[in-house]
Amino acid sequence: MVVDKTYINALSIEQAHSEAIKCTSGFRYIAGGTDVIVNKFQGNDNAEILIDLTGINELKQVVTKENNIEIGALVRLDDLKNYKVIIDNFPALLEAANSVASPVIRKTATLGGNLLCENRCIFYNQTEWWRESAGHCLKCNGNVCIASGGNKNCFAKFVSDTAVVLISMNASIEVFADNKISVIPIEDIYSGDGITPLKLSKTAIVKSIHIPLNNEYKSVFKKLRQRETLEFSSMTTAVTINKTGKLKIVLGAVHAKPIVYNGNITDDFNEILNALISNTRIIDNDVYSRAYRKEMITVFLQRSFKELSLLK
């Protein structure tokens, strides 16, 4: 018998949530699905029930409220460029969004989906056959991390490009969970555990992304990748300064979670660098070597600082 599967098109947050809590077997919400569906093909996601959120129109709005812009979680990456408020205030978000996958995928992939996209590792993002042959790693119920040889921690890479920029701009997400709505800084939703990288409950639904306005953010985004399109990140940096001289730096793809530095524009560059690098957990799970990715952090941050006139 081939197992029956279910697909549910949800039209409201409440409907999606109530379908989710009814599920006794595995389920997964899907937004654009460009990440989830590939993981399903590879057998990394065996959810028998898919709850499609893309019919929920209230999650597709972009509105300005008080000192925030609120971007619906289902706003597609390609649509971000259609909002003047984003173009004017957060060009680095556009740059990050445009660095995701390919132009056609960005017409399906959503901002919320990108924030929640599954952590990646060259030893994990493989088919069932491959993983059986290699020996299952920690992230697929095995006993050892193939990349590091360790048996405790999985450092599958956190690869959201937009999250890196959004965190650097102190953005938050509005989440519907346990029948209540809360607003959480984006950096707080990532656990640092490559196996279960999100702290959100499985039935939680991200409603929107809030970015503070009127801070006069200046940001520089950089992404290490071999080709200029299609690629997931090998290492990402976002450096943001605001009108009061606050500095926030976020690194992506160097740990199972984003690595964040909060400080001031007057902070010493080398000390910043040391603080950041000491928190990374780069392992050889990427097309580029661990050493090279680490080395590029310095290069990217130096360039970013120069672009922001923080270094000569």
Partner: protein, 933 residues
């Protein structure tokens, strides 16, 4: 299952779909619109792009039920009332369609892109926008240039086309023409192997080994057989006869028997009602393995295995060496002595995959005529032989049909296990059997370029004369033989040109390893060793402080000469090619004068134009072409040659058109069906234009002679008075002036249809020493490239910004097609140079998909400037030689040499990585030694 209401191309459908079914399955399998292609199944190639409510989506990763009540537009809807959309017309006119497999997706993406283009931005900026816009759609054939041209011209409503769709009033050599089937491909109407609907077909899936080297102790298929919908489960002992493309390497079973030799080898095959059931059944098969020591690297396989089991039993020695090839000419010791300066370097190359966009697919069935298989193959003839052998039936019970084929590049030029297995399952079940490999399975099937290691040494006099060349090569063949014996020789022998060399020798070892097998790939056998030689020449030029182009010009072989290994060189456009790219790149003006990080590099190449010897020794001609002319005036061309997207059907039509002076509208090409078409050995070794082209010319001339004879008899005129042109036959004084249809009436009167045959047999060539046959060709091609790069000195990132290339193809029968082959070759070379590699972890391919196997996208592909050099080969059809493979040789070393010019580091490992560049830059004092001359 759920009901899906969906409007596709304006027509409402109510279909039952599986809940997790993808839109592409609905479109292709349930509605039958096969213009939408499946290339990767994970949204990385773009071949499946369709519009949902007027926006492009990747239908292979779009859940069908999301599209309930949506309007879908597929490629089939673009043409209205039979007339192509203007963008489709542009694709055809500009030669943007080669194999055509990516074309529907590319057109659908482009059509949505166009309204968003800033048309006033200027041509360069516009082209960049287009490159960015189509960057999620991979094309392996064109190098994107002609696609970008087509989109730009459509968007700007300009017309720079040198070809026109309907300009077929006269067929003539040398006119740029779209492929004869381009319109069908751009409509999405061309059927590839997986598009052909066969009633009542079962689906096939494979269970593959999880070990690289292991004994199979037992296989239990009982649970799989119990699954409802499963019809048959096959295991290895049912197909005990081995096969392989070369008679001396018949070392593979369709399904592993007793042991597996690479992870991914097929150990069982299931035929079931659906793909899903077959896949589920595979999971129920229990295999007990006894793991053996794996041999994964060249060095391991060169050594004595001791007590361990060899990968293959045969072979005199207790190691895993498959083939040793060695030839020596002149006196290399003396050559070293005569050299004032020598350069010896070690090179390392990762394996490369063909990356064709169409996955392998086949359908087989048996009936009163025996076996019929429709399959994506470059070599119907060799598959025909292999099937007859393994199925144990006479040759006359096998029919192989090649439908439209979505790219080959050598990767579809062996008989494959899946082709044999579906034939076997079809016989066992009495039902047609279908299979389409996943992209991962395509990578496991491989037969790509061998990973290689080599030490190459050259010596030169102070005045720039090459004195000696010695190459010591080891290549990693993977688990089976494939074309490996040929590859072993080609790594050496194809270094004996394009330069004069009196003292030349090589030694190659091909080893078996427990990895997917390697075989032939574009530029077969010599791409890596050519990289080595051209890098060393650049180094020598640097050492003796001469311009590397001048050094090459000084050492080129002449036309009409013999090489040291007795290759007969006839036409030779080396010099013209190099001078052309020097001029175009402003080499003299710019070399040595660019700032750090910016470099120019040059290299040259050389390749065979068809192997003079057949793979299986026999006395058949290399190619036979039949022509049939009947009362309606149409000439039917039948040829066994395989059009794999390189345009060979069009080439045949052009040649027949030229000889008979009639338009292409009167010519119909039927090719690559072993029942209906005469034997041609296939599309490999760059042989089709030269050999099938000559056979077509011979056939057309025979038909022409028949026509002349019939007219001279009836009209009482001398044969040499008659001319064939413009769909007419006329005498010099026009007293006789017959339209074609009257010519046909005269010929067929009281006789009916006239059938003639033409053939090509290679001349006897080469020396009488052992190994003399390797690389023998009736003609050779030559070419050059100059590459321009920017190297980021802090990250090591290389951006190839320009490739100027020139290739001596003898005569461009169809310049549009030749340009397309050259641009595609150089694009593929850029991939091998800077991004592509098959990366393994313990014998398992890590990057077995189009996300991680990094074919350059449109943004990563430089501006390519193609130049055709015509030398009119004395034996080629109308002077033509190959254009599909040789061009790749110079581009890779040209890029490496440009990197040396930019930052002073000599990278001897492919692909060239940013990390390697950066590492070497730190170790080198590049800033002081950067300047070349």
């Amino acid at each position: 299952m759920k009901q899906l209401s969906i409007k596709i191309n304006g027509k409402q459908f109510e279909v039952l779909v599986n809940d997790h079914e993808m839109l592409s399955t609905v479109i292709r399998e349930r509605v039958g619109l096969t213009g939408t292609k499946i290339g990767c199944e994970q949204g990385s190639c773009g071949a499946c792009t369709v519009l949902v409510n007027n926006e492009p989506v990747l239908s292979c990763i779009t859940p069908a039920l999301r599209c309930n009540n949506s309007e879908i537009t597929t490629i089939e809807a673009l043409a209205v009332d039979g007339k192509l959309h203007k963008l489709q017309e542009k694709f055809v006119e500009k030669g943007a369609v080669q194999c055509g497999f990516c074309t529907p997706g590319m057109v659908m993406t482009a059509i949505c892109l166009i309204p968003n283009l800033d048309l006033k931005a200027g041509m360069e900026a516009l082209r960049h926008q287009i490159k960015e816009g189509i960057s999620g759609n991979l094309c392996r054939c064109t190098g994107y240039k002609k696609i970008i041209d087509a989109v730009a011209e459509y968007a700007l409503e300009i017309d720079n086309s040198t070809s026109k769709i309907c300009d077929d009033s006269k067929g003539a050599v040398g006119l740029p023409r779209p492929y004869i089937e381009a319109e069908k491909k751009v409509r999405g109407a061309a059927e590839y192997a997986d598009d052909i609907y066969t009633r009542n077909a079962l689906h096939c899936k494979f269970l593959r080994s999880i070990y690289s080297h292991a004994k199979i102790e037992s296989i239990d298929t009982s649970e799989a057989l119990k699954l409802e919908g499963v019809h048959y489960v096959a295991i290895g002992k049912e197909l005990p006869i081995t096969f392989g493309v070369l008679p001396i390497s018949q070392d593979e079973n369709a399904i592993a028997v007793n042991k597996v030799r690479y992870a991914g080898e097929i150990v069982a095959a299931v035929a079931a009602d659906t793909e899903e059931i077959a896949e589920q059944a595979c999971k129920l098969i229990k295999v007990k393995y006894f793991p053996l020591k794996e041999f994964l690297e060249i060095d391991e396989s060169l050594n004595d295995v001791g007590e361990n089991e060899k990968i293959h039993e045969y072979g005199k020695f207790n190691n895993n060496i498959h083939k040793k090839a060695e030839l020596r000419f002149g006196d290399q010791q003396q050559g070293i002595k005569e050299a004032d300066v020598t350069s010896k370097m070690f090179f390392e190359f990762e394996g490369i995959n063909h990356g064709f966009t169409e996955p392998h697919a086949a359908t087989a069935f048996w009936d009163e005529n025996g076996l019929t298989i429709t399959t994506a193959t470059q070599v119907p003839h060799y598959l025909h032989r292999a099937l007859a052998k393994v199925m144990e039936v006479p040759l006359n019970r096998v029919r192989v049909i090649k439908p439209y084929l979505g790219g080959g590049f050598g990767g579809k030029s062996d008989p494959f296990p899946h082709e044999i297995i579906v034939s076997h399952l079809a016989r066992k079940t009495g039902r047609p059997i279908r299979v389409r490999l996943t992209r991962e399975e395509v990578f496991l099937t491989n037969h790509g370029r061998h990973p290689s290691k080599m030490t190459v040494e050259m010596g030169i006099s102070n005045d720039g004369e090459f004195k000696v060349l010695d190459a010591d090569v080891a290549i990693d063949g993977g688990a089976y033989g494939s074309f490996g014996v040929v590859t072993s020789y080609y790594n050496g022998v194809l270094l004996q040109a394009p330069y004069k060399l009196n003292n030349f020798g090589f030694k190659t070892y091909r080893v078996y390893t427990n990895k997917p097998q390697c075989g032939a790939m574009r530029g077969h056998g010599a791409v890596n060793s050519r990289f080595a030689v051209e890098s060393i020449i650049d180094d020598l030029a640097h050492k003796i402080k001469v311009d590397p182009c001048e050094l090459r010009l000084k050492n080129f072989l002449d036309s009409n000469t013999l090489t040291v290994g007795q290759y007969r060189i006839t036409s030779n456009g080396s010099r013209e090619a190099l001078l052309k790219v020097m001029e175009q790149s402003e080499w003299k003006k710019r070399i040595g004068k660019l700032e750090t990080g910016h470099g120019l590099g040059a290299a040259c190449g050389f390749f065979i134009s068809g192997s003079a010897l057949p793979i299986i020794w026999n006395e058949l001609p290399q190619s036979v072409v039949h022509l049939k002319l009947d009362f309606d005036g149409r000439v039917l061309v039948t040829s066994g040659s395989s059009d794999i997207g390189q345009g060979s059907d069009t080439m045949l039509a052009i040649i027949v058109s030229e000889v008979l002076g009639i338009g292409l509208d009167k010519i119909f090409v039927l090719a690559a069906d072993t029942l209906l078409t005469p034997v041609d050995f296939g599309s490999y070794s760059s042989r089709v234009t030269f050999m099938a082209g000559n056979a077509a010319k011979d056939a057309a001339e025979n038909l022409k002679n028949e026509i002349i004879e019939s007219i001279t008899k009836q009209k009482n005129i001398s044969a040499d008075e008659l001319n064939f042109s413009g769909d007419r036959v006329f005498s010099n004084d026009k007293t006789i002036d017959l339209p074609w249809i009257e010519v046909v009436d005269i010929l067929t009167a009281k006789r009916g249809a006239v059938c003639v045959s033409g053939k090509y047999i290679s001349p006897k060539l080469g020396g009488d020493f052992k190994g003399a046959g390797a690389g023998l060709s009736p003609s050779y091609t030559f070419g050059s490239c100059v590459a321009e790069v920017n190297v980021d000195t802090e990250t090591g990132f290389v951006k190839v910004i320009n490739v100027w290339g020139a290739h001596d193809c003898g005569k461009a029968l169809n310049p549009l097609a030749v340009e397309g082959q050259l641009e595609g070759s150089w694009h593929m070379g850029v991939g091998q140079a800077i991004s592509e590699q098959m990366k393994y972890y313990k014998g398992l391919l890590l990057n077995n998909n189009f996300l991680d196997y990094k074919i350059p996208t449109s943004i990563d592909t430089p501006d390519i400037h193609a130049n055709i050099i015509e030398t009119i080969d004395p034996e080629g059809p109308f002077g033509a030689k190959e254009a599909g493979e040789g061009a790749i040789h110079p581009v890779i070393p040209a890029i490496a040499n440009a990197i040396f010019n930019a930052v002073g580091v000599r990278i001897t490992k492919l692909p060239i990585t940013a990390e390697d560049i950066l590492k070497q830059m730190k170790e080198n004092k590049f800033l002081t030694e950067k300047t070349i001359v």
